[in-house]
């Protein structure tokens, strides 16, 4: 909502300065977004006429325009706007002017070899509107202003307020003035608006159809006959320009002015173009009309339309149609002032994807009792400026406004805000805001003003009172440092632990979108269901991620493109399995590319490999408190891993929940993504599948016991079928005698010369120690033989001699 202090002064008597105003507005909840100067330099912007255009010799899209800037001065201006054509009246900015939107200062510049003296401005560049397509087009009435400044010399700044959606009343200058007055910033001016007194009949029949759901509950109107529509008088034009609106014609300007002044949207029809009468009804499916934005709209059934016998004239409270629009030659006007239900307005506007000033206001709730005031104010102005005769006002209603009453217990105020104000003060504030207040024993009986749809219960009254008294009166109550419940639960603690544990292994933590590119997602989707976003911001972010890999691989690639070669990144966050709440899992996903020890003078470099990520996964889980002796690992992994160089990890051999995957990313994916690195390995740890530690840290510390008896190491080399897993061998050995076998290490794996085909040699070192005695040669020999025999029997291995 844009206002100026000058305009506010139409409604507010105050001696205070603009600086105080800005502070006060913010203090009462009408946040000042920005303050812009429309004076000073803006006088440089002149009304001008294009008298000739030529194609730019060096650029297809540019034109060289001869521009008449008044006083017989012609300037050459290079312009890229499509609508720049001979005869167009527009706004010219000379070198030295500062463009309001970009705050850049214009200079004489060569554009593709042609010197341009200044610029022709679009409405958006002048902050007049969001219209940035082409340069401003002024009506022919501006012809006599060529050479004159477009902006008036108003010294009042343009104040842009951010009005919260609960305050439609403050979408009019008067509403803002009322709030300011209630807060002690001046006095609300009584406008003393007189009612129209007319003997002229309203000759157009108006009817609100009975519908199951009727979006229009009241339709007020009057006819104004024999008007002469014209350009608005200077005061009105200046007023609109001062808040960045573009004057169009007196009738349109007046309806806009009344809307901005008292938040009462109106609509003016060319009465001669209405066939017989007005019918307010629901649209039929497929009905069409051309709206004032020159677009054709095809309606669904059930939209609230204003129609005549011929068809739709406009969408009530949203936008009028071209068929009945007023023009400069309009003679007779039907002026509409109606009430439309916010819900109905919203539904229709949403379905048609339409946003207008009227819609914005009606969907927030217009004062239902402002119908007559609006007609009075606008009709009188039209008569004043355009002449004509005003008819009697006609108001059709299908519902009567019921006043809202609230019983307010003044004690609630302190209970909620923590501070006190006197009853007298409360009454004063509420009355100034437009409430009718009656004292009823210990309570206040309040009648809510009709322009406040947001107020319906006691707590709303508290807000009004504290807002106007000032939030600075609320005391600071120091919080008590006391904890009754632990801050994090076990799962959250594990989350933080794993996050920092993975980071400590050299991975940089990334946070990427929860959505991703469908193409990338498909690489890592495995058997999961694709979850589409209905309205993504771009097609590259069109699905929820089924795996974190899709994003990480994309960003690894970007970083490789930046020239990095050896990268490790990880993310901990959600992946999605379905589109319902809760169908998501938390995953820690890491990705490592390139080499270890690249360009090292001391170490030989090597590619990162599956055993690097295996270590990261195992170490992380061990650090988190899981016993690696129980881990069970096999090679069943999703199709995005290298089928031969990847693994699946369970916390124990019950194998019910997959704790992690790790391995090389499938070479096909690397090829398709065109990722250039020596090696790419990754892992995924599934948080929900990790059993939460039941024990506390102190319980985890079992009784400390160790053996002082001598330990012995024995090495074995087995020739074994290639398919047999090292883990099976280790398990077999450890099961031989768990009390004596303390440690088992694989220290060599060999295939090739001297080893039969399809076989491999595995060398294992076994640490044997008793907790009861020092083992003698005999004991050791016994366990040795038992190990060999068991391994040979159970796995088909042969000891190498």
């Amino acid at each position: 909502m844009k206002i100026t202090f000058d305009w506010l002064k139409d409604h507010l008597k105050t001696n205070l300065k603009e600086k105080n105003l800005l502070e006060q507005l913010t203090n009462i909840g009408l946040e000042v977004e920005s303050v812009e100067s429309l004076s000073g330099d803006n006088e440089l912007f002149k009304v001008a006429e294009i008298i000739k255009t030529e194609k730019h010799p060096n650029a297809d899209r540019l034109k060289v325009c001869d521009v008449n800037i008044g006083k017989k001065e012609i300037k050459k201006v290079v312009c890229g706007a499509e609508n720049a054509k001979e005869g167009l009246l527009t706004i010219y900015a000379p070198p030295g002017a500062i463009i309001p939107k970009t705050k850049t200062k214009l200079v004489v510049a060569k554009i593709r070899g042609v010197t341009s003296y200044g610029m022709l401005c679009s409405e958006s560049e002048l902050n007049l509107s969001d219209e940035s397509d082409g340069i401003t087009e002024l009506t022919k009435e501006f012809r006599k202003n060529i050479g004159k400044s477009y902006f008036s010399k108003s010294k009042s700044n343009l104040i842009d307020l951010s009005i919260t959606p609960n305050r439609p009343d403050c979408l009019g200058v008067r509403g803002i003035a009322r709030d300011l007055a209630a807060s002690g910033f001046g006095k609300l001016v009584d406008l003393g608006e007189k009612k129209i007194y007319s003997k002229n009949r309203h000759t157009l029949k108006i009817k609100i159809n009975k519908e199951r759901v009727q979006g229009c509950t009241a339709f007020g109107s009057c006819l104004i006959t024999n008007v002469k529509n014209s350009e608005s008088p200077k005061w009105l034009k200046d007023k609109l320009i001062s808040i960045g609106q573009k004057p169009i014609s007196a009738i349109v300007d007046i309806t806009n002015y009344v809307m901005l002044d008292i938040n009462r949207p109106l609509h003016a029809y060319d009465a001669d173009k209405i066939e017989k009468g007005i019918i307010v009804r629901n649209s039929k499916s497929g009905e069409e009309f051309t709206a004032l934005d020159n677009k054709n709209y095809k309606l669904e059934s059930g939209m609230c339309v204003i129609s005549d016998n011929k068809g739709v004239l406009g969408l009530g409270g949203i936008i009028g149609g071209t068929r009945s629009g007023t023009e400069f030659d309009t003679k007779n006007i039907l002026l509409e002032s109606a009430y439309f239900e916010p819900g109905s307005i919203r539904n229709t506007a949403k379905k048609l994807n339409l946003d207008t000033d009227a819609k914005f206001r009606f969907e927030r709730g217009i004062d239902p009792l402002s119908i007559e005031d609006g007609l009075n104010k606008a009709a009188k102005l039209i008569k004043e400026i355009c002449g004509g005769e005003i008819s009697k006002i006609d108001i059709q209603k299908i519902e009567t406004y019921k006043t809202k009453k609230i019983k307010f217990d003044p004690n609630i105020f302190e209970k909620i805000t923590g501070f006190k104000i006197s009853l007298k003060e409360m009454i004063k504030i509420l009355e100034n805001l437009g409430f009718e207040v009656k004292k009823d024993k210990k309570r206040l009986e309040l009648i809510v003003p009709s322009w406040r749809p947001d107020i319906s219960q006691e707590v709303d009254i508290v807000e009004e009172l504290v807002r106007i008294s000032g939030y600075e009166k609320i005391k600071y109550i120091e919080p008590i440092k006391q904890r009754k419940k632990s801050t994090l639960n076990k799962y959250q603690k594990l989350f933080h632990f794993l996050q920092r544990s993975v980071a400590s292994k050299g991975y940089l933590e990334a946070i990427t979108w929860s959505f991703t590119d469908k193409r990338y997602n498909d690489y890592f989707r495995d058997t999961k269901k694709e979850i589409k976003i209905i309205n993504p911001i771009s097609s590259e972010l069109g699905v929820l991620r089924n795996s974190i890999f899709s994003n990480l691989i994309l960003y690894i690639n970007k970083n490789l493109d930046r020239g990095f070669k050896d990268l490790s990144i990880f993310e901990i966050g959600p992946i999605f399995n379905g589109s319902n709440p809760g169908e998501q899992n938390t995953v820690i996903c890491g990705l490592s590319a390139g080499k270890k020890s690249r360009l090292s003078w001391i170490e030989k470099d090597r590619n990162v490999d599956v055993f690097d990520v295996k270590r990261d996964v195992v170490q992380t889980l061990v650090e988190a408190g899981y016993n690696s002796e129980n881990f069970f690992i096999d090679n069943e992994t999703p199709n995005y891993y290298h089928p031969g160089k990847s693994g699946r990890l369970f916390l124990n051999n019950k194998k019910n929940k997959i704790a992690a995957y790790f391995g090389e990313i499938h070479p096909n994916i690397l090829k398709q993504i065109d990722i250039k690195t020596e090696s790419l390995v990754g892992f995924e740890i599934f948080m929900e599948n990790l059993e939460l530690p039941k024990k506390t840290l102190k319980d985890l510390k079992e009784k400390f016991s160790f053996s002082d008896y001598q330990k012995s190491e024995r090495d074995f080399a087995f020739i074994i079928n290639k398919e047999v897993k090292a883990q099976d061998l280790i398990d077999t050995i450890s099961n031989v005698d768990e009390s004596l076998i303390k440690n088992i290490k694989v220290f060599d794996v060999y295939e090739g010369d001297n080893i039969p085909e399809n076989q491999k040699s595995i060398a294992i070192s076994v640490t044997i120690q008793s907790s009861e005695k020092t083992l003698n040669e005999n004991d050791l020999e016994k366990i040795n033989n038992l190990i060999i025999k068991t391994v040979e029997d159970k796995t088909g291995a042969k000891i190498r001699s």
């Binding site: 959606p165 919080p479 801050t487 933590e509």
Partner: protein
Amino acid sequence: MSDLKKIKDEFLSKLSGKLDISEINQIKSDLFGKSGLISTQFKKIGTIAESERKKFAFDLNIIKDELQDLINSKTNELKSAEINEKLEKEKIDITLPERSFVRGKIHPVSQTIDEISSIFSEIGFSVEEGPDVENEYNNFTALNTPENHPARDMHDTFYLDEKKQNLLRTHTSPVQIRTMIKNKPPFKIIAPGRTYRSDSDQTHAPMFHQVEGLHIDKDINMGHLKGCLNYFIKEFFEVDKIKMRFRPSHFPFTEPSAEVDIGYEMKDGKIIIGEGNKWLEILGCGMVHPNVLKNVKVDPSKFQGYAFGIGIDRLAMLKYGINDLRAFFDCDYRWLNHFGFDPLDVPTNYRGLSR
């Protein structure tokens, strides 16, 4: 001259010269070997007359010790010279680089979440979470934002189905609903997490982070809200004083509602929090709307309290001088390295938020 004196003089002179280890060993064996000169003298002790025996033995021992010490020190000298010589050859260029190491980092948003949790932990809040995908009811309706409420326009929502039943949560406030439905009052929670809105430009990302706060009890009023946030902001920015401004605003789920600004100034292109005359909006808050409490079956005549929502990314930007929101999610290795935190820098109550 006695034999002893002769031996002594002869060998002292031999040992004073430059000798290698084999020459020393030779001297050692000449003196102390089985038939060495000193050994021989010792054997003689028995044959010497009783009267002179004591003196002879005494002198012999002195000479023995003297020569032995000299031999030992000569040997040590040589050994250490030998080691020194070896060390001289082993000298390396210590300025060559160490073996390579890699350093991981924690993302500034994660670090900030931990900082926030640590601060609120101290005043008794616990951490709750909720899913990223929410239903329309929890995200809007239960929060007193029914369909067709214009406030829904302020949330550009990503939807997952045509009926708009499932969506990506637009704020962390649905965690309030989930928490209150699941448990009984009092409630004192924070809920950090990912939130989503379908706008994207220089200052908006389609995904960002919020932390929700909720404190409901019998007599929690706006003063508690103000005190809590004042405490939080001071602790978070690690400053003693903070300039804070509460101003009225509107959120459908709180009444009265406020937005909170903090004072700042720019010094050498950096934001200094807590000083200066400029205001920066950092959060929205208010007293939980009675309609919300009713929706979660909490009696608003018995329980009341406050809620707040803070943009985490924005807090991190302010505290750590990060200019571009979108860089948080861009995964640029250089950026992550620069703004990331060492995983050992865990914010805790006792050691504080930072070093």
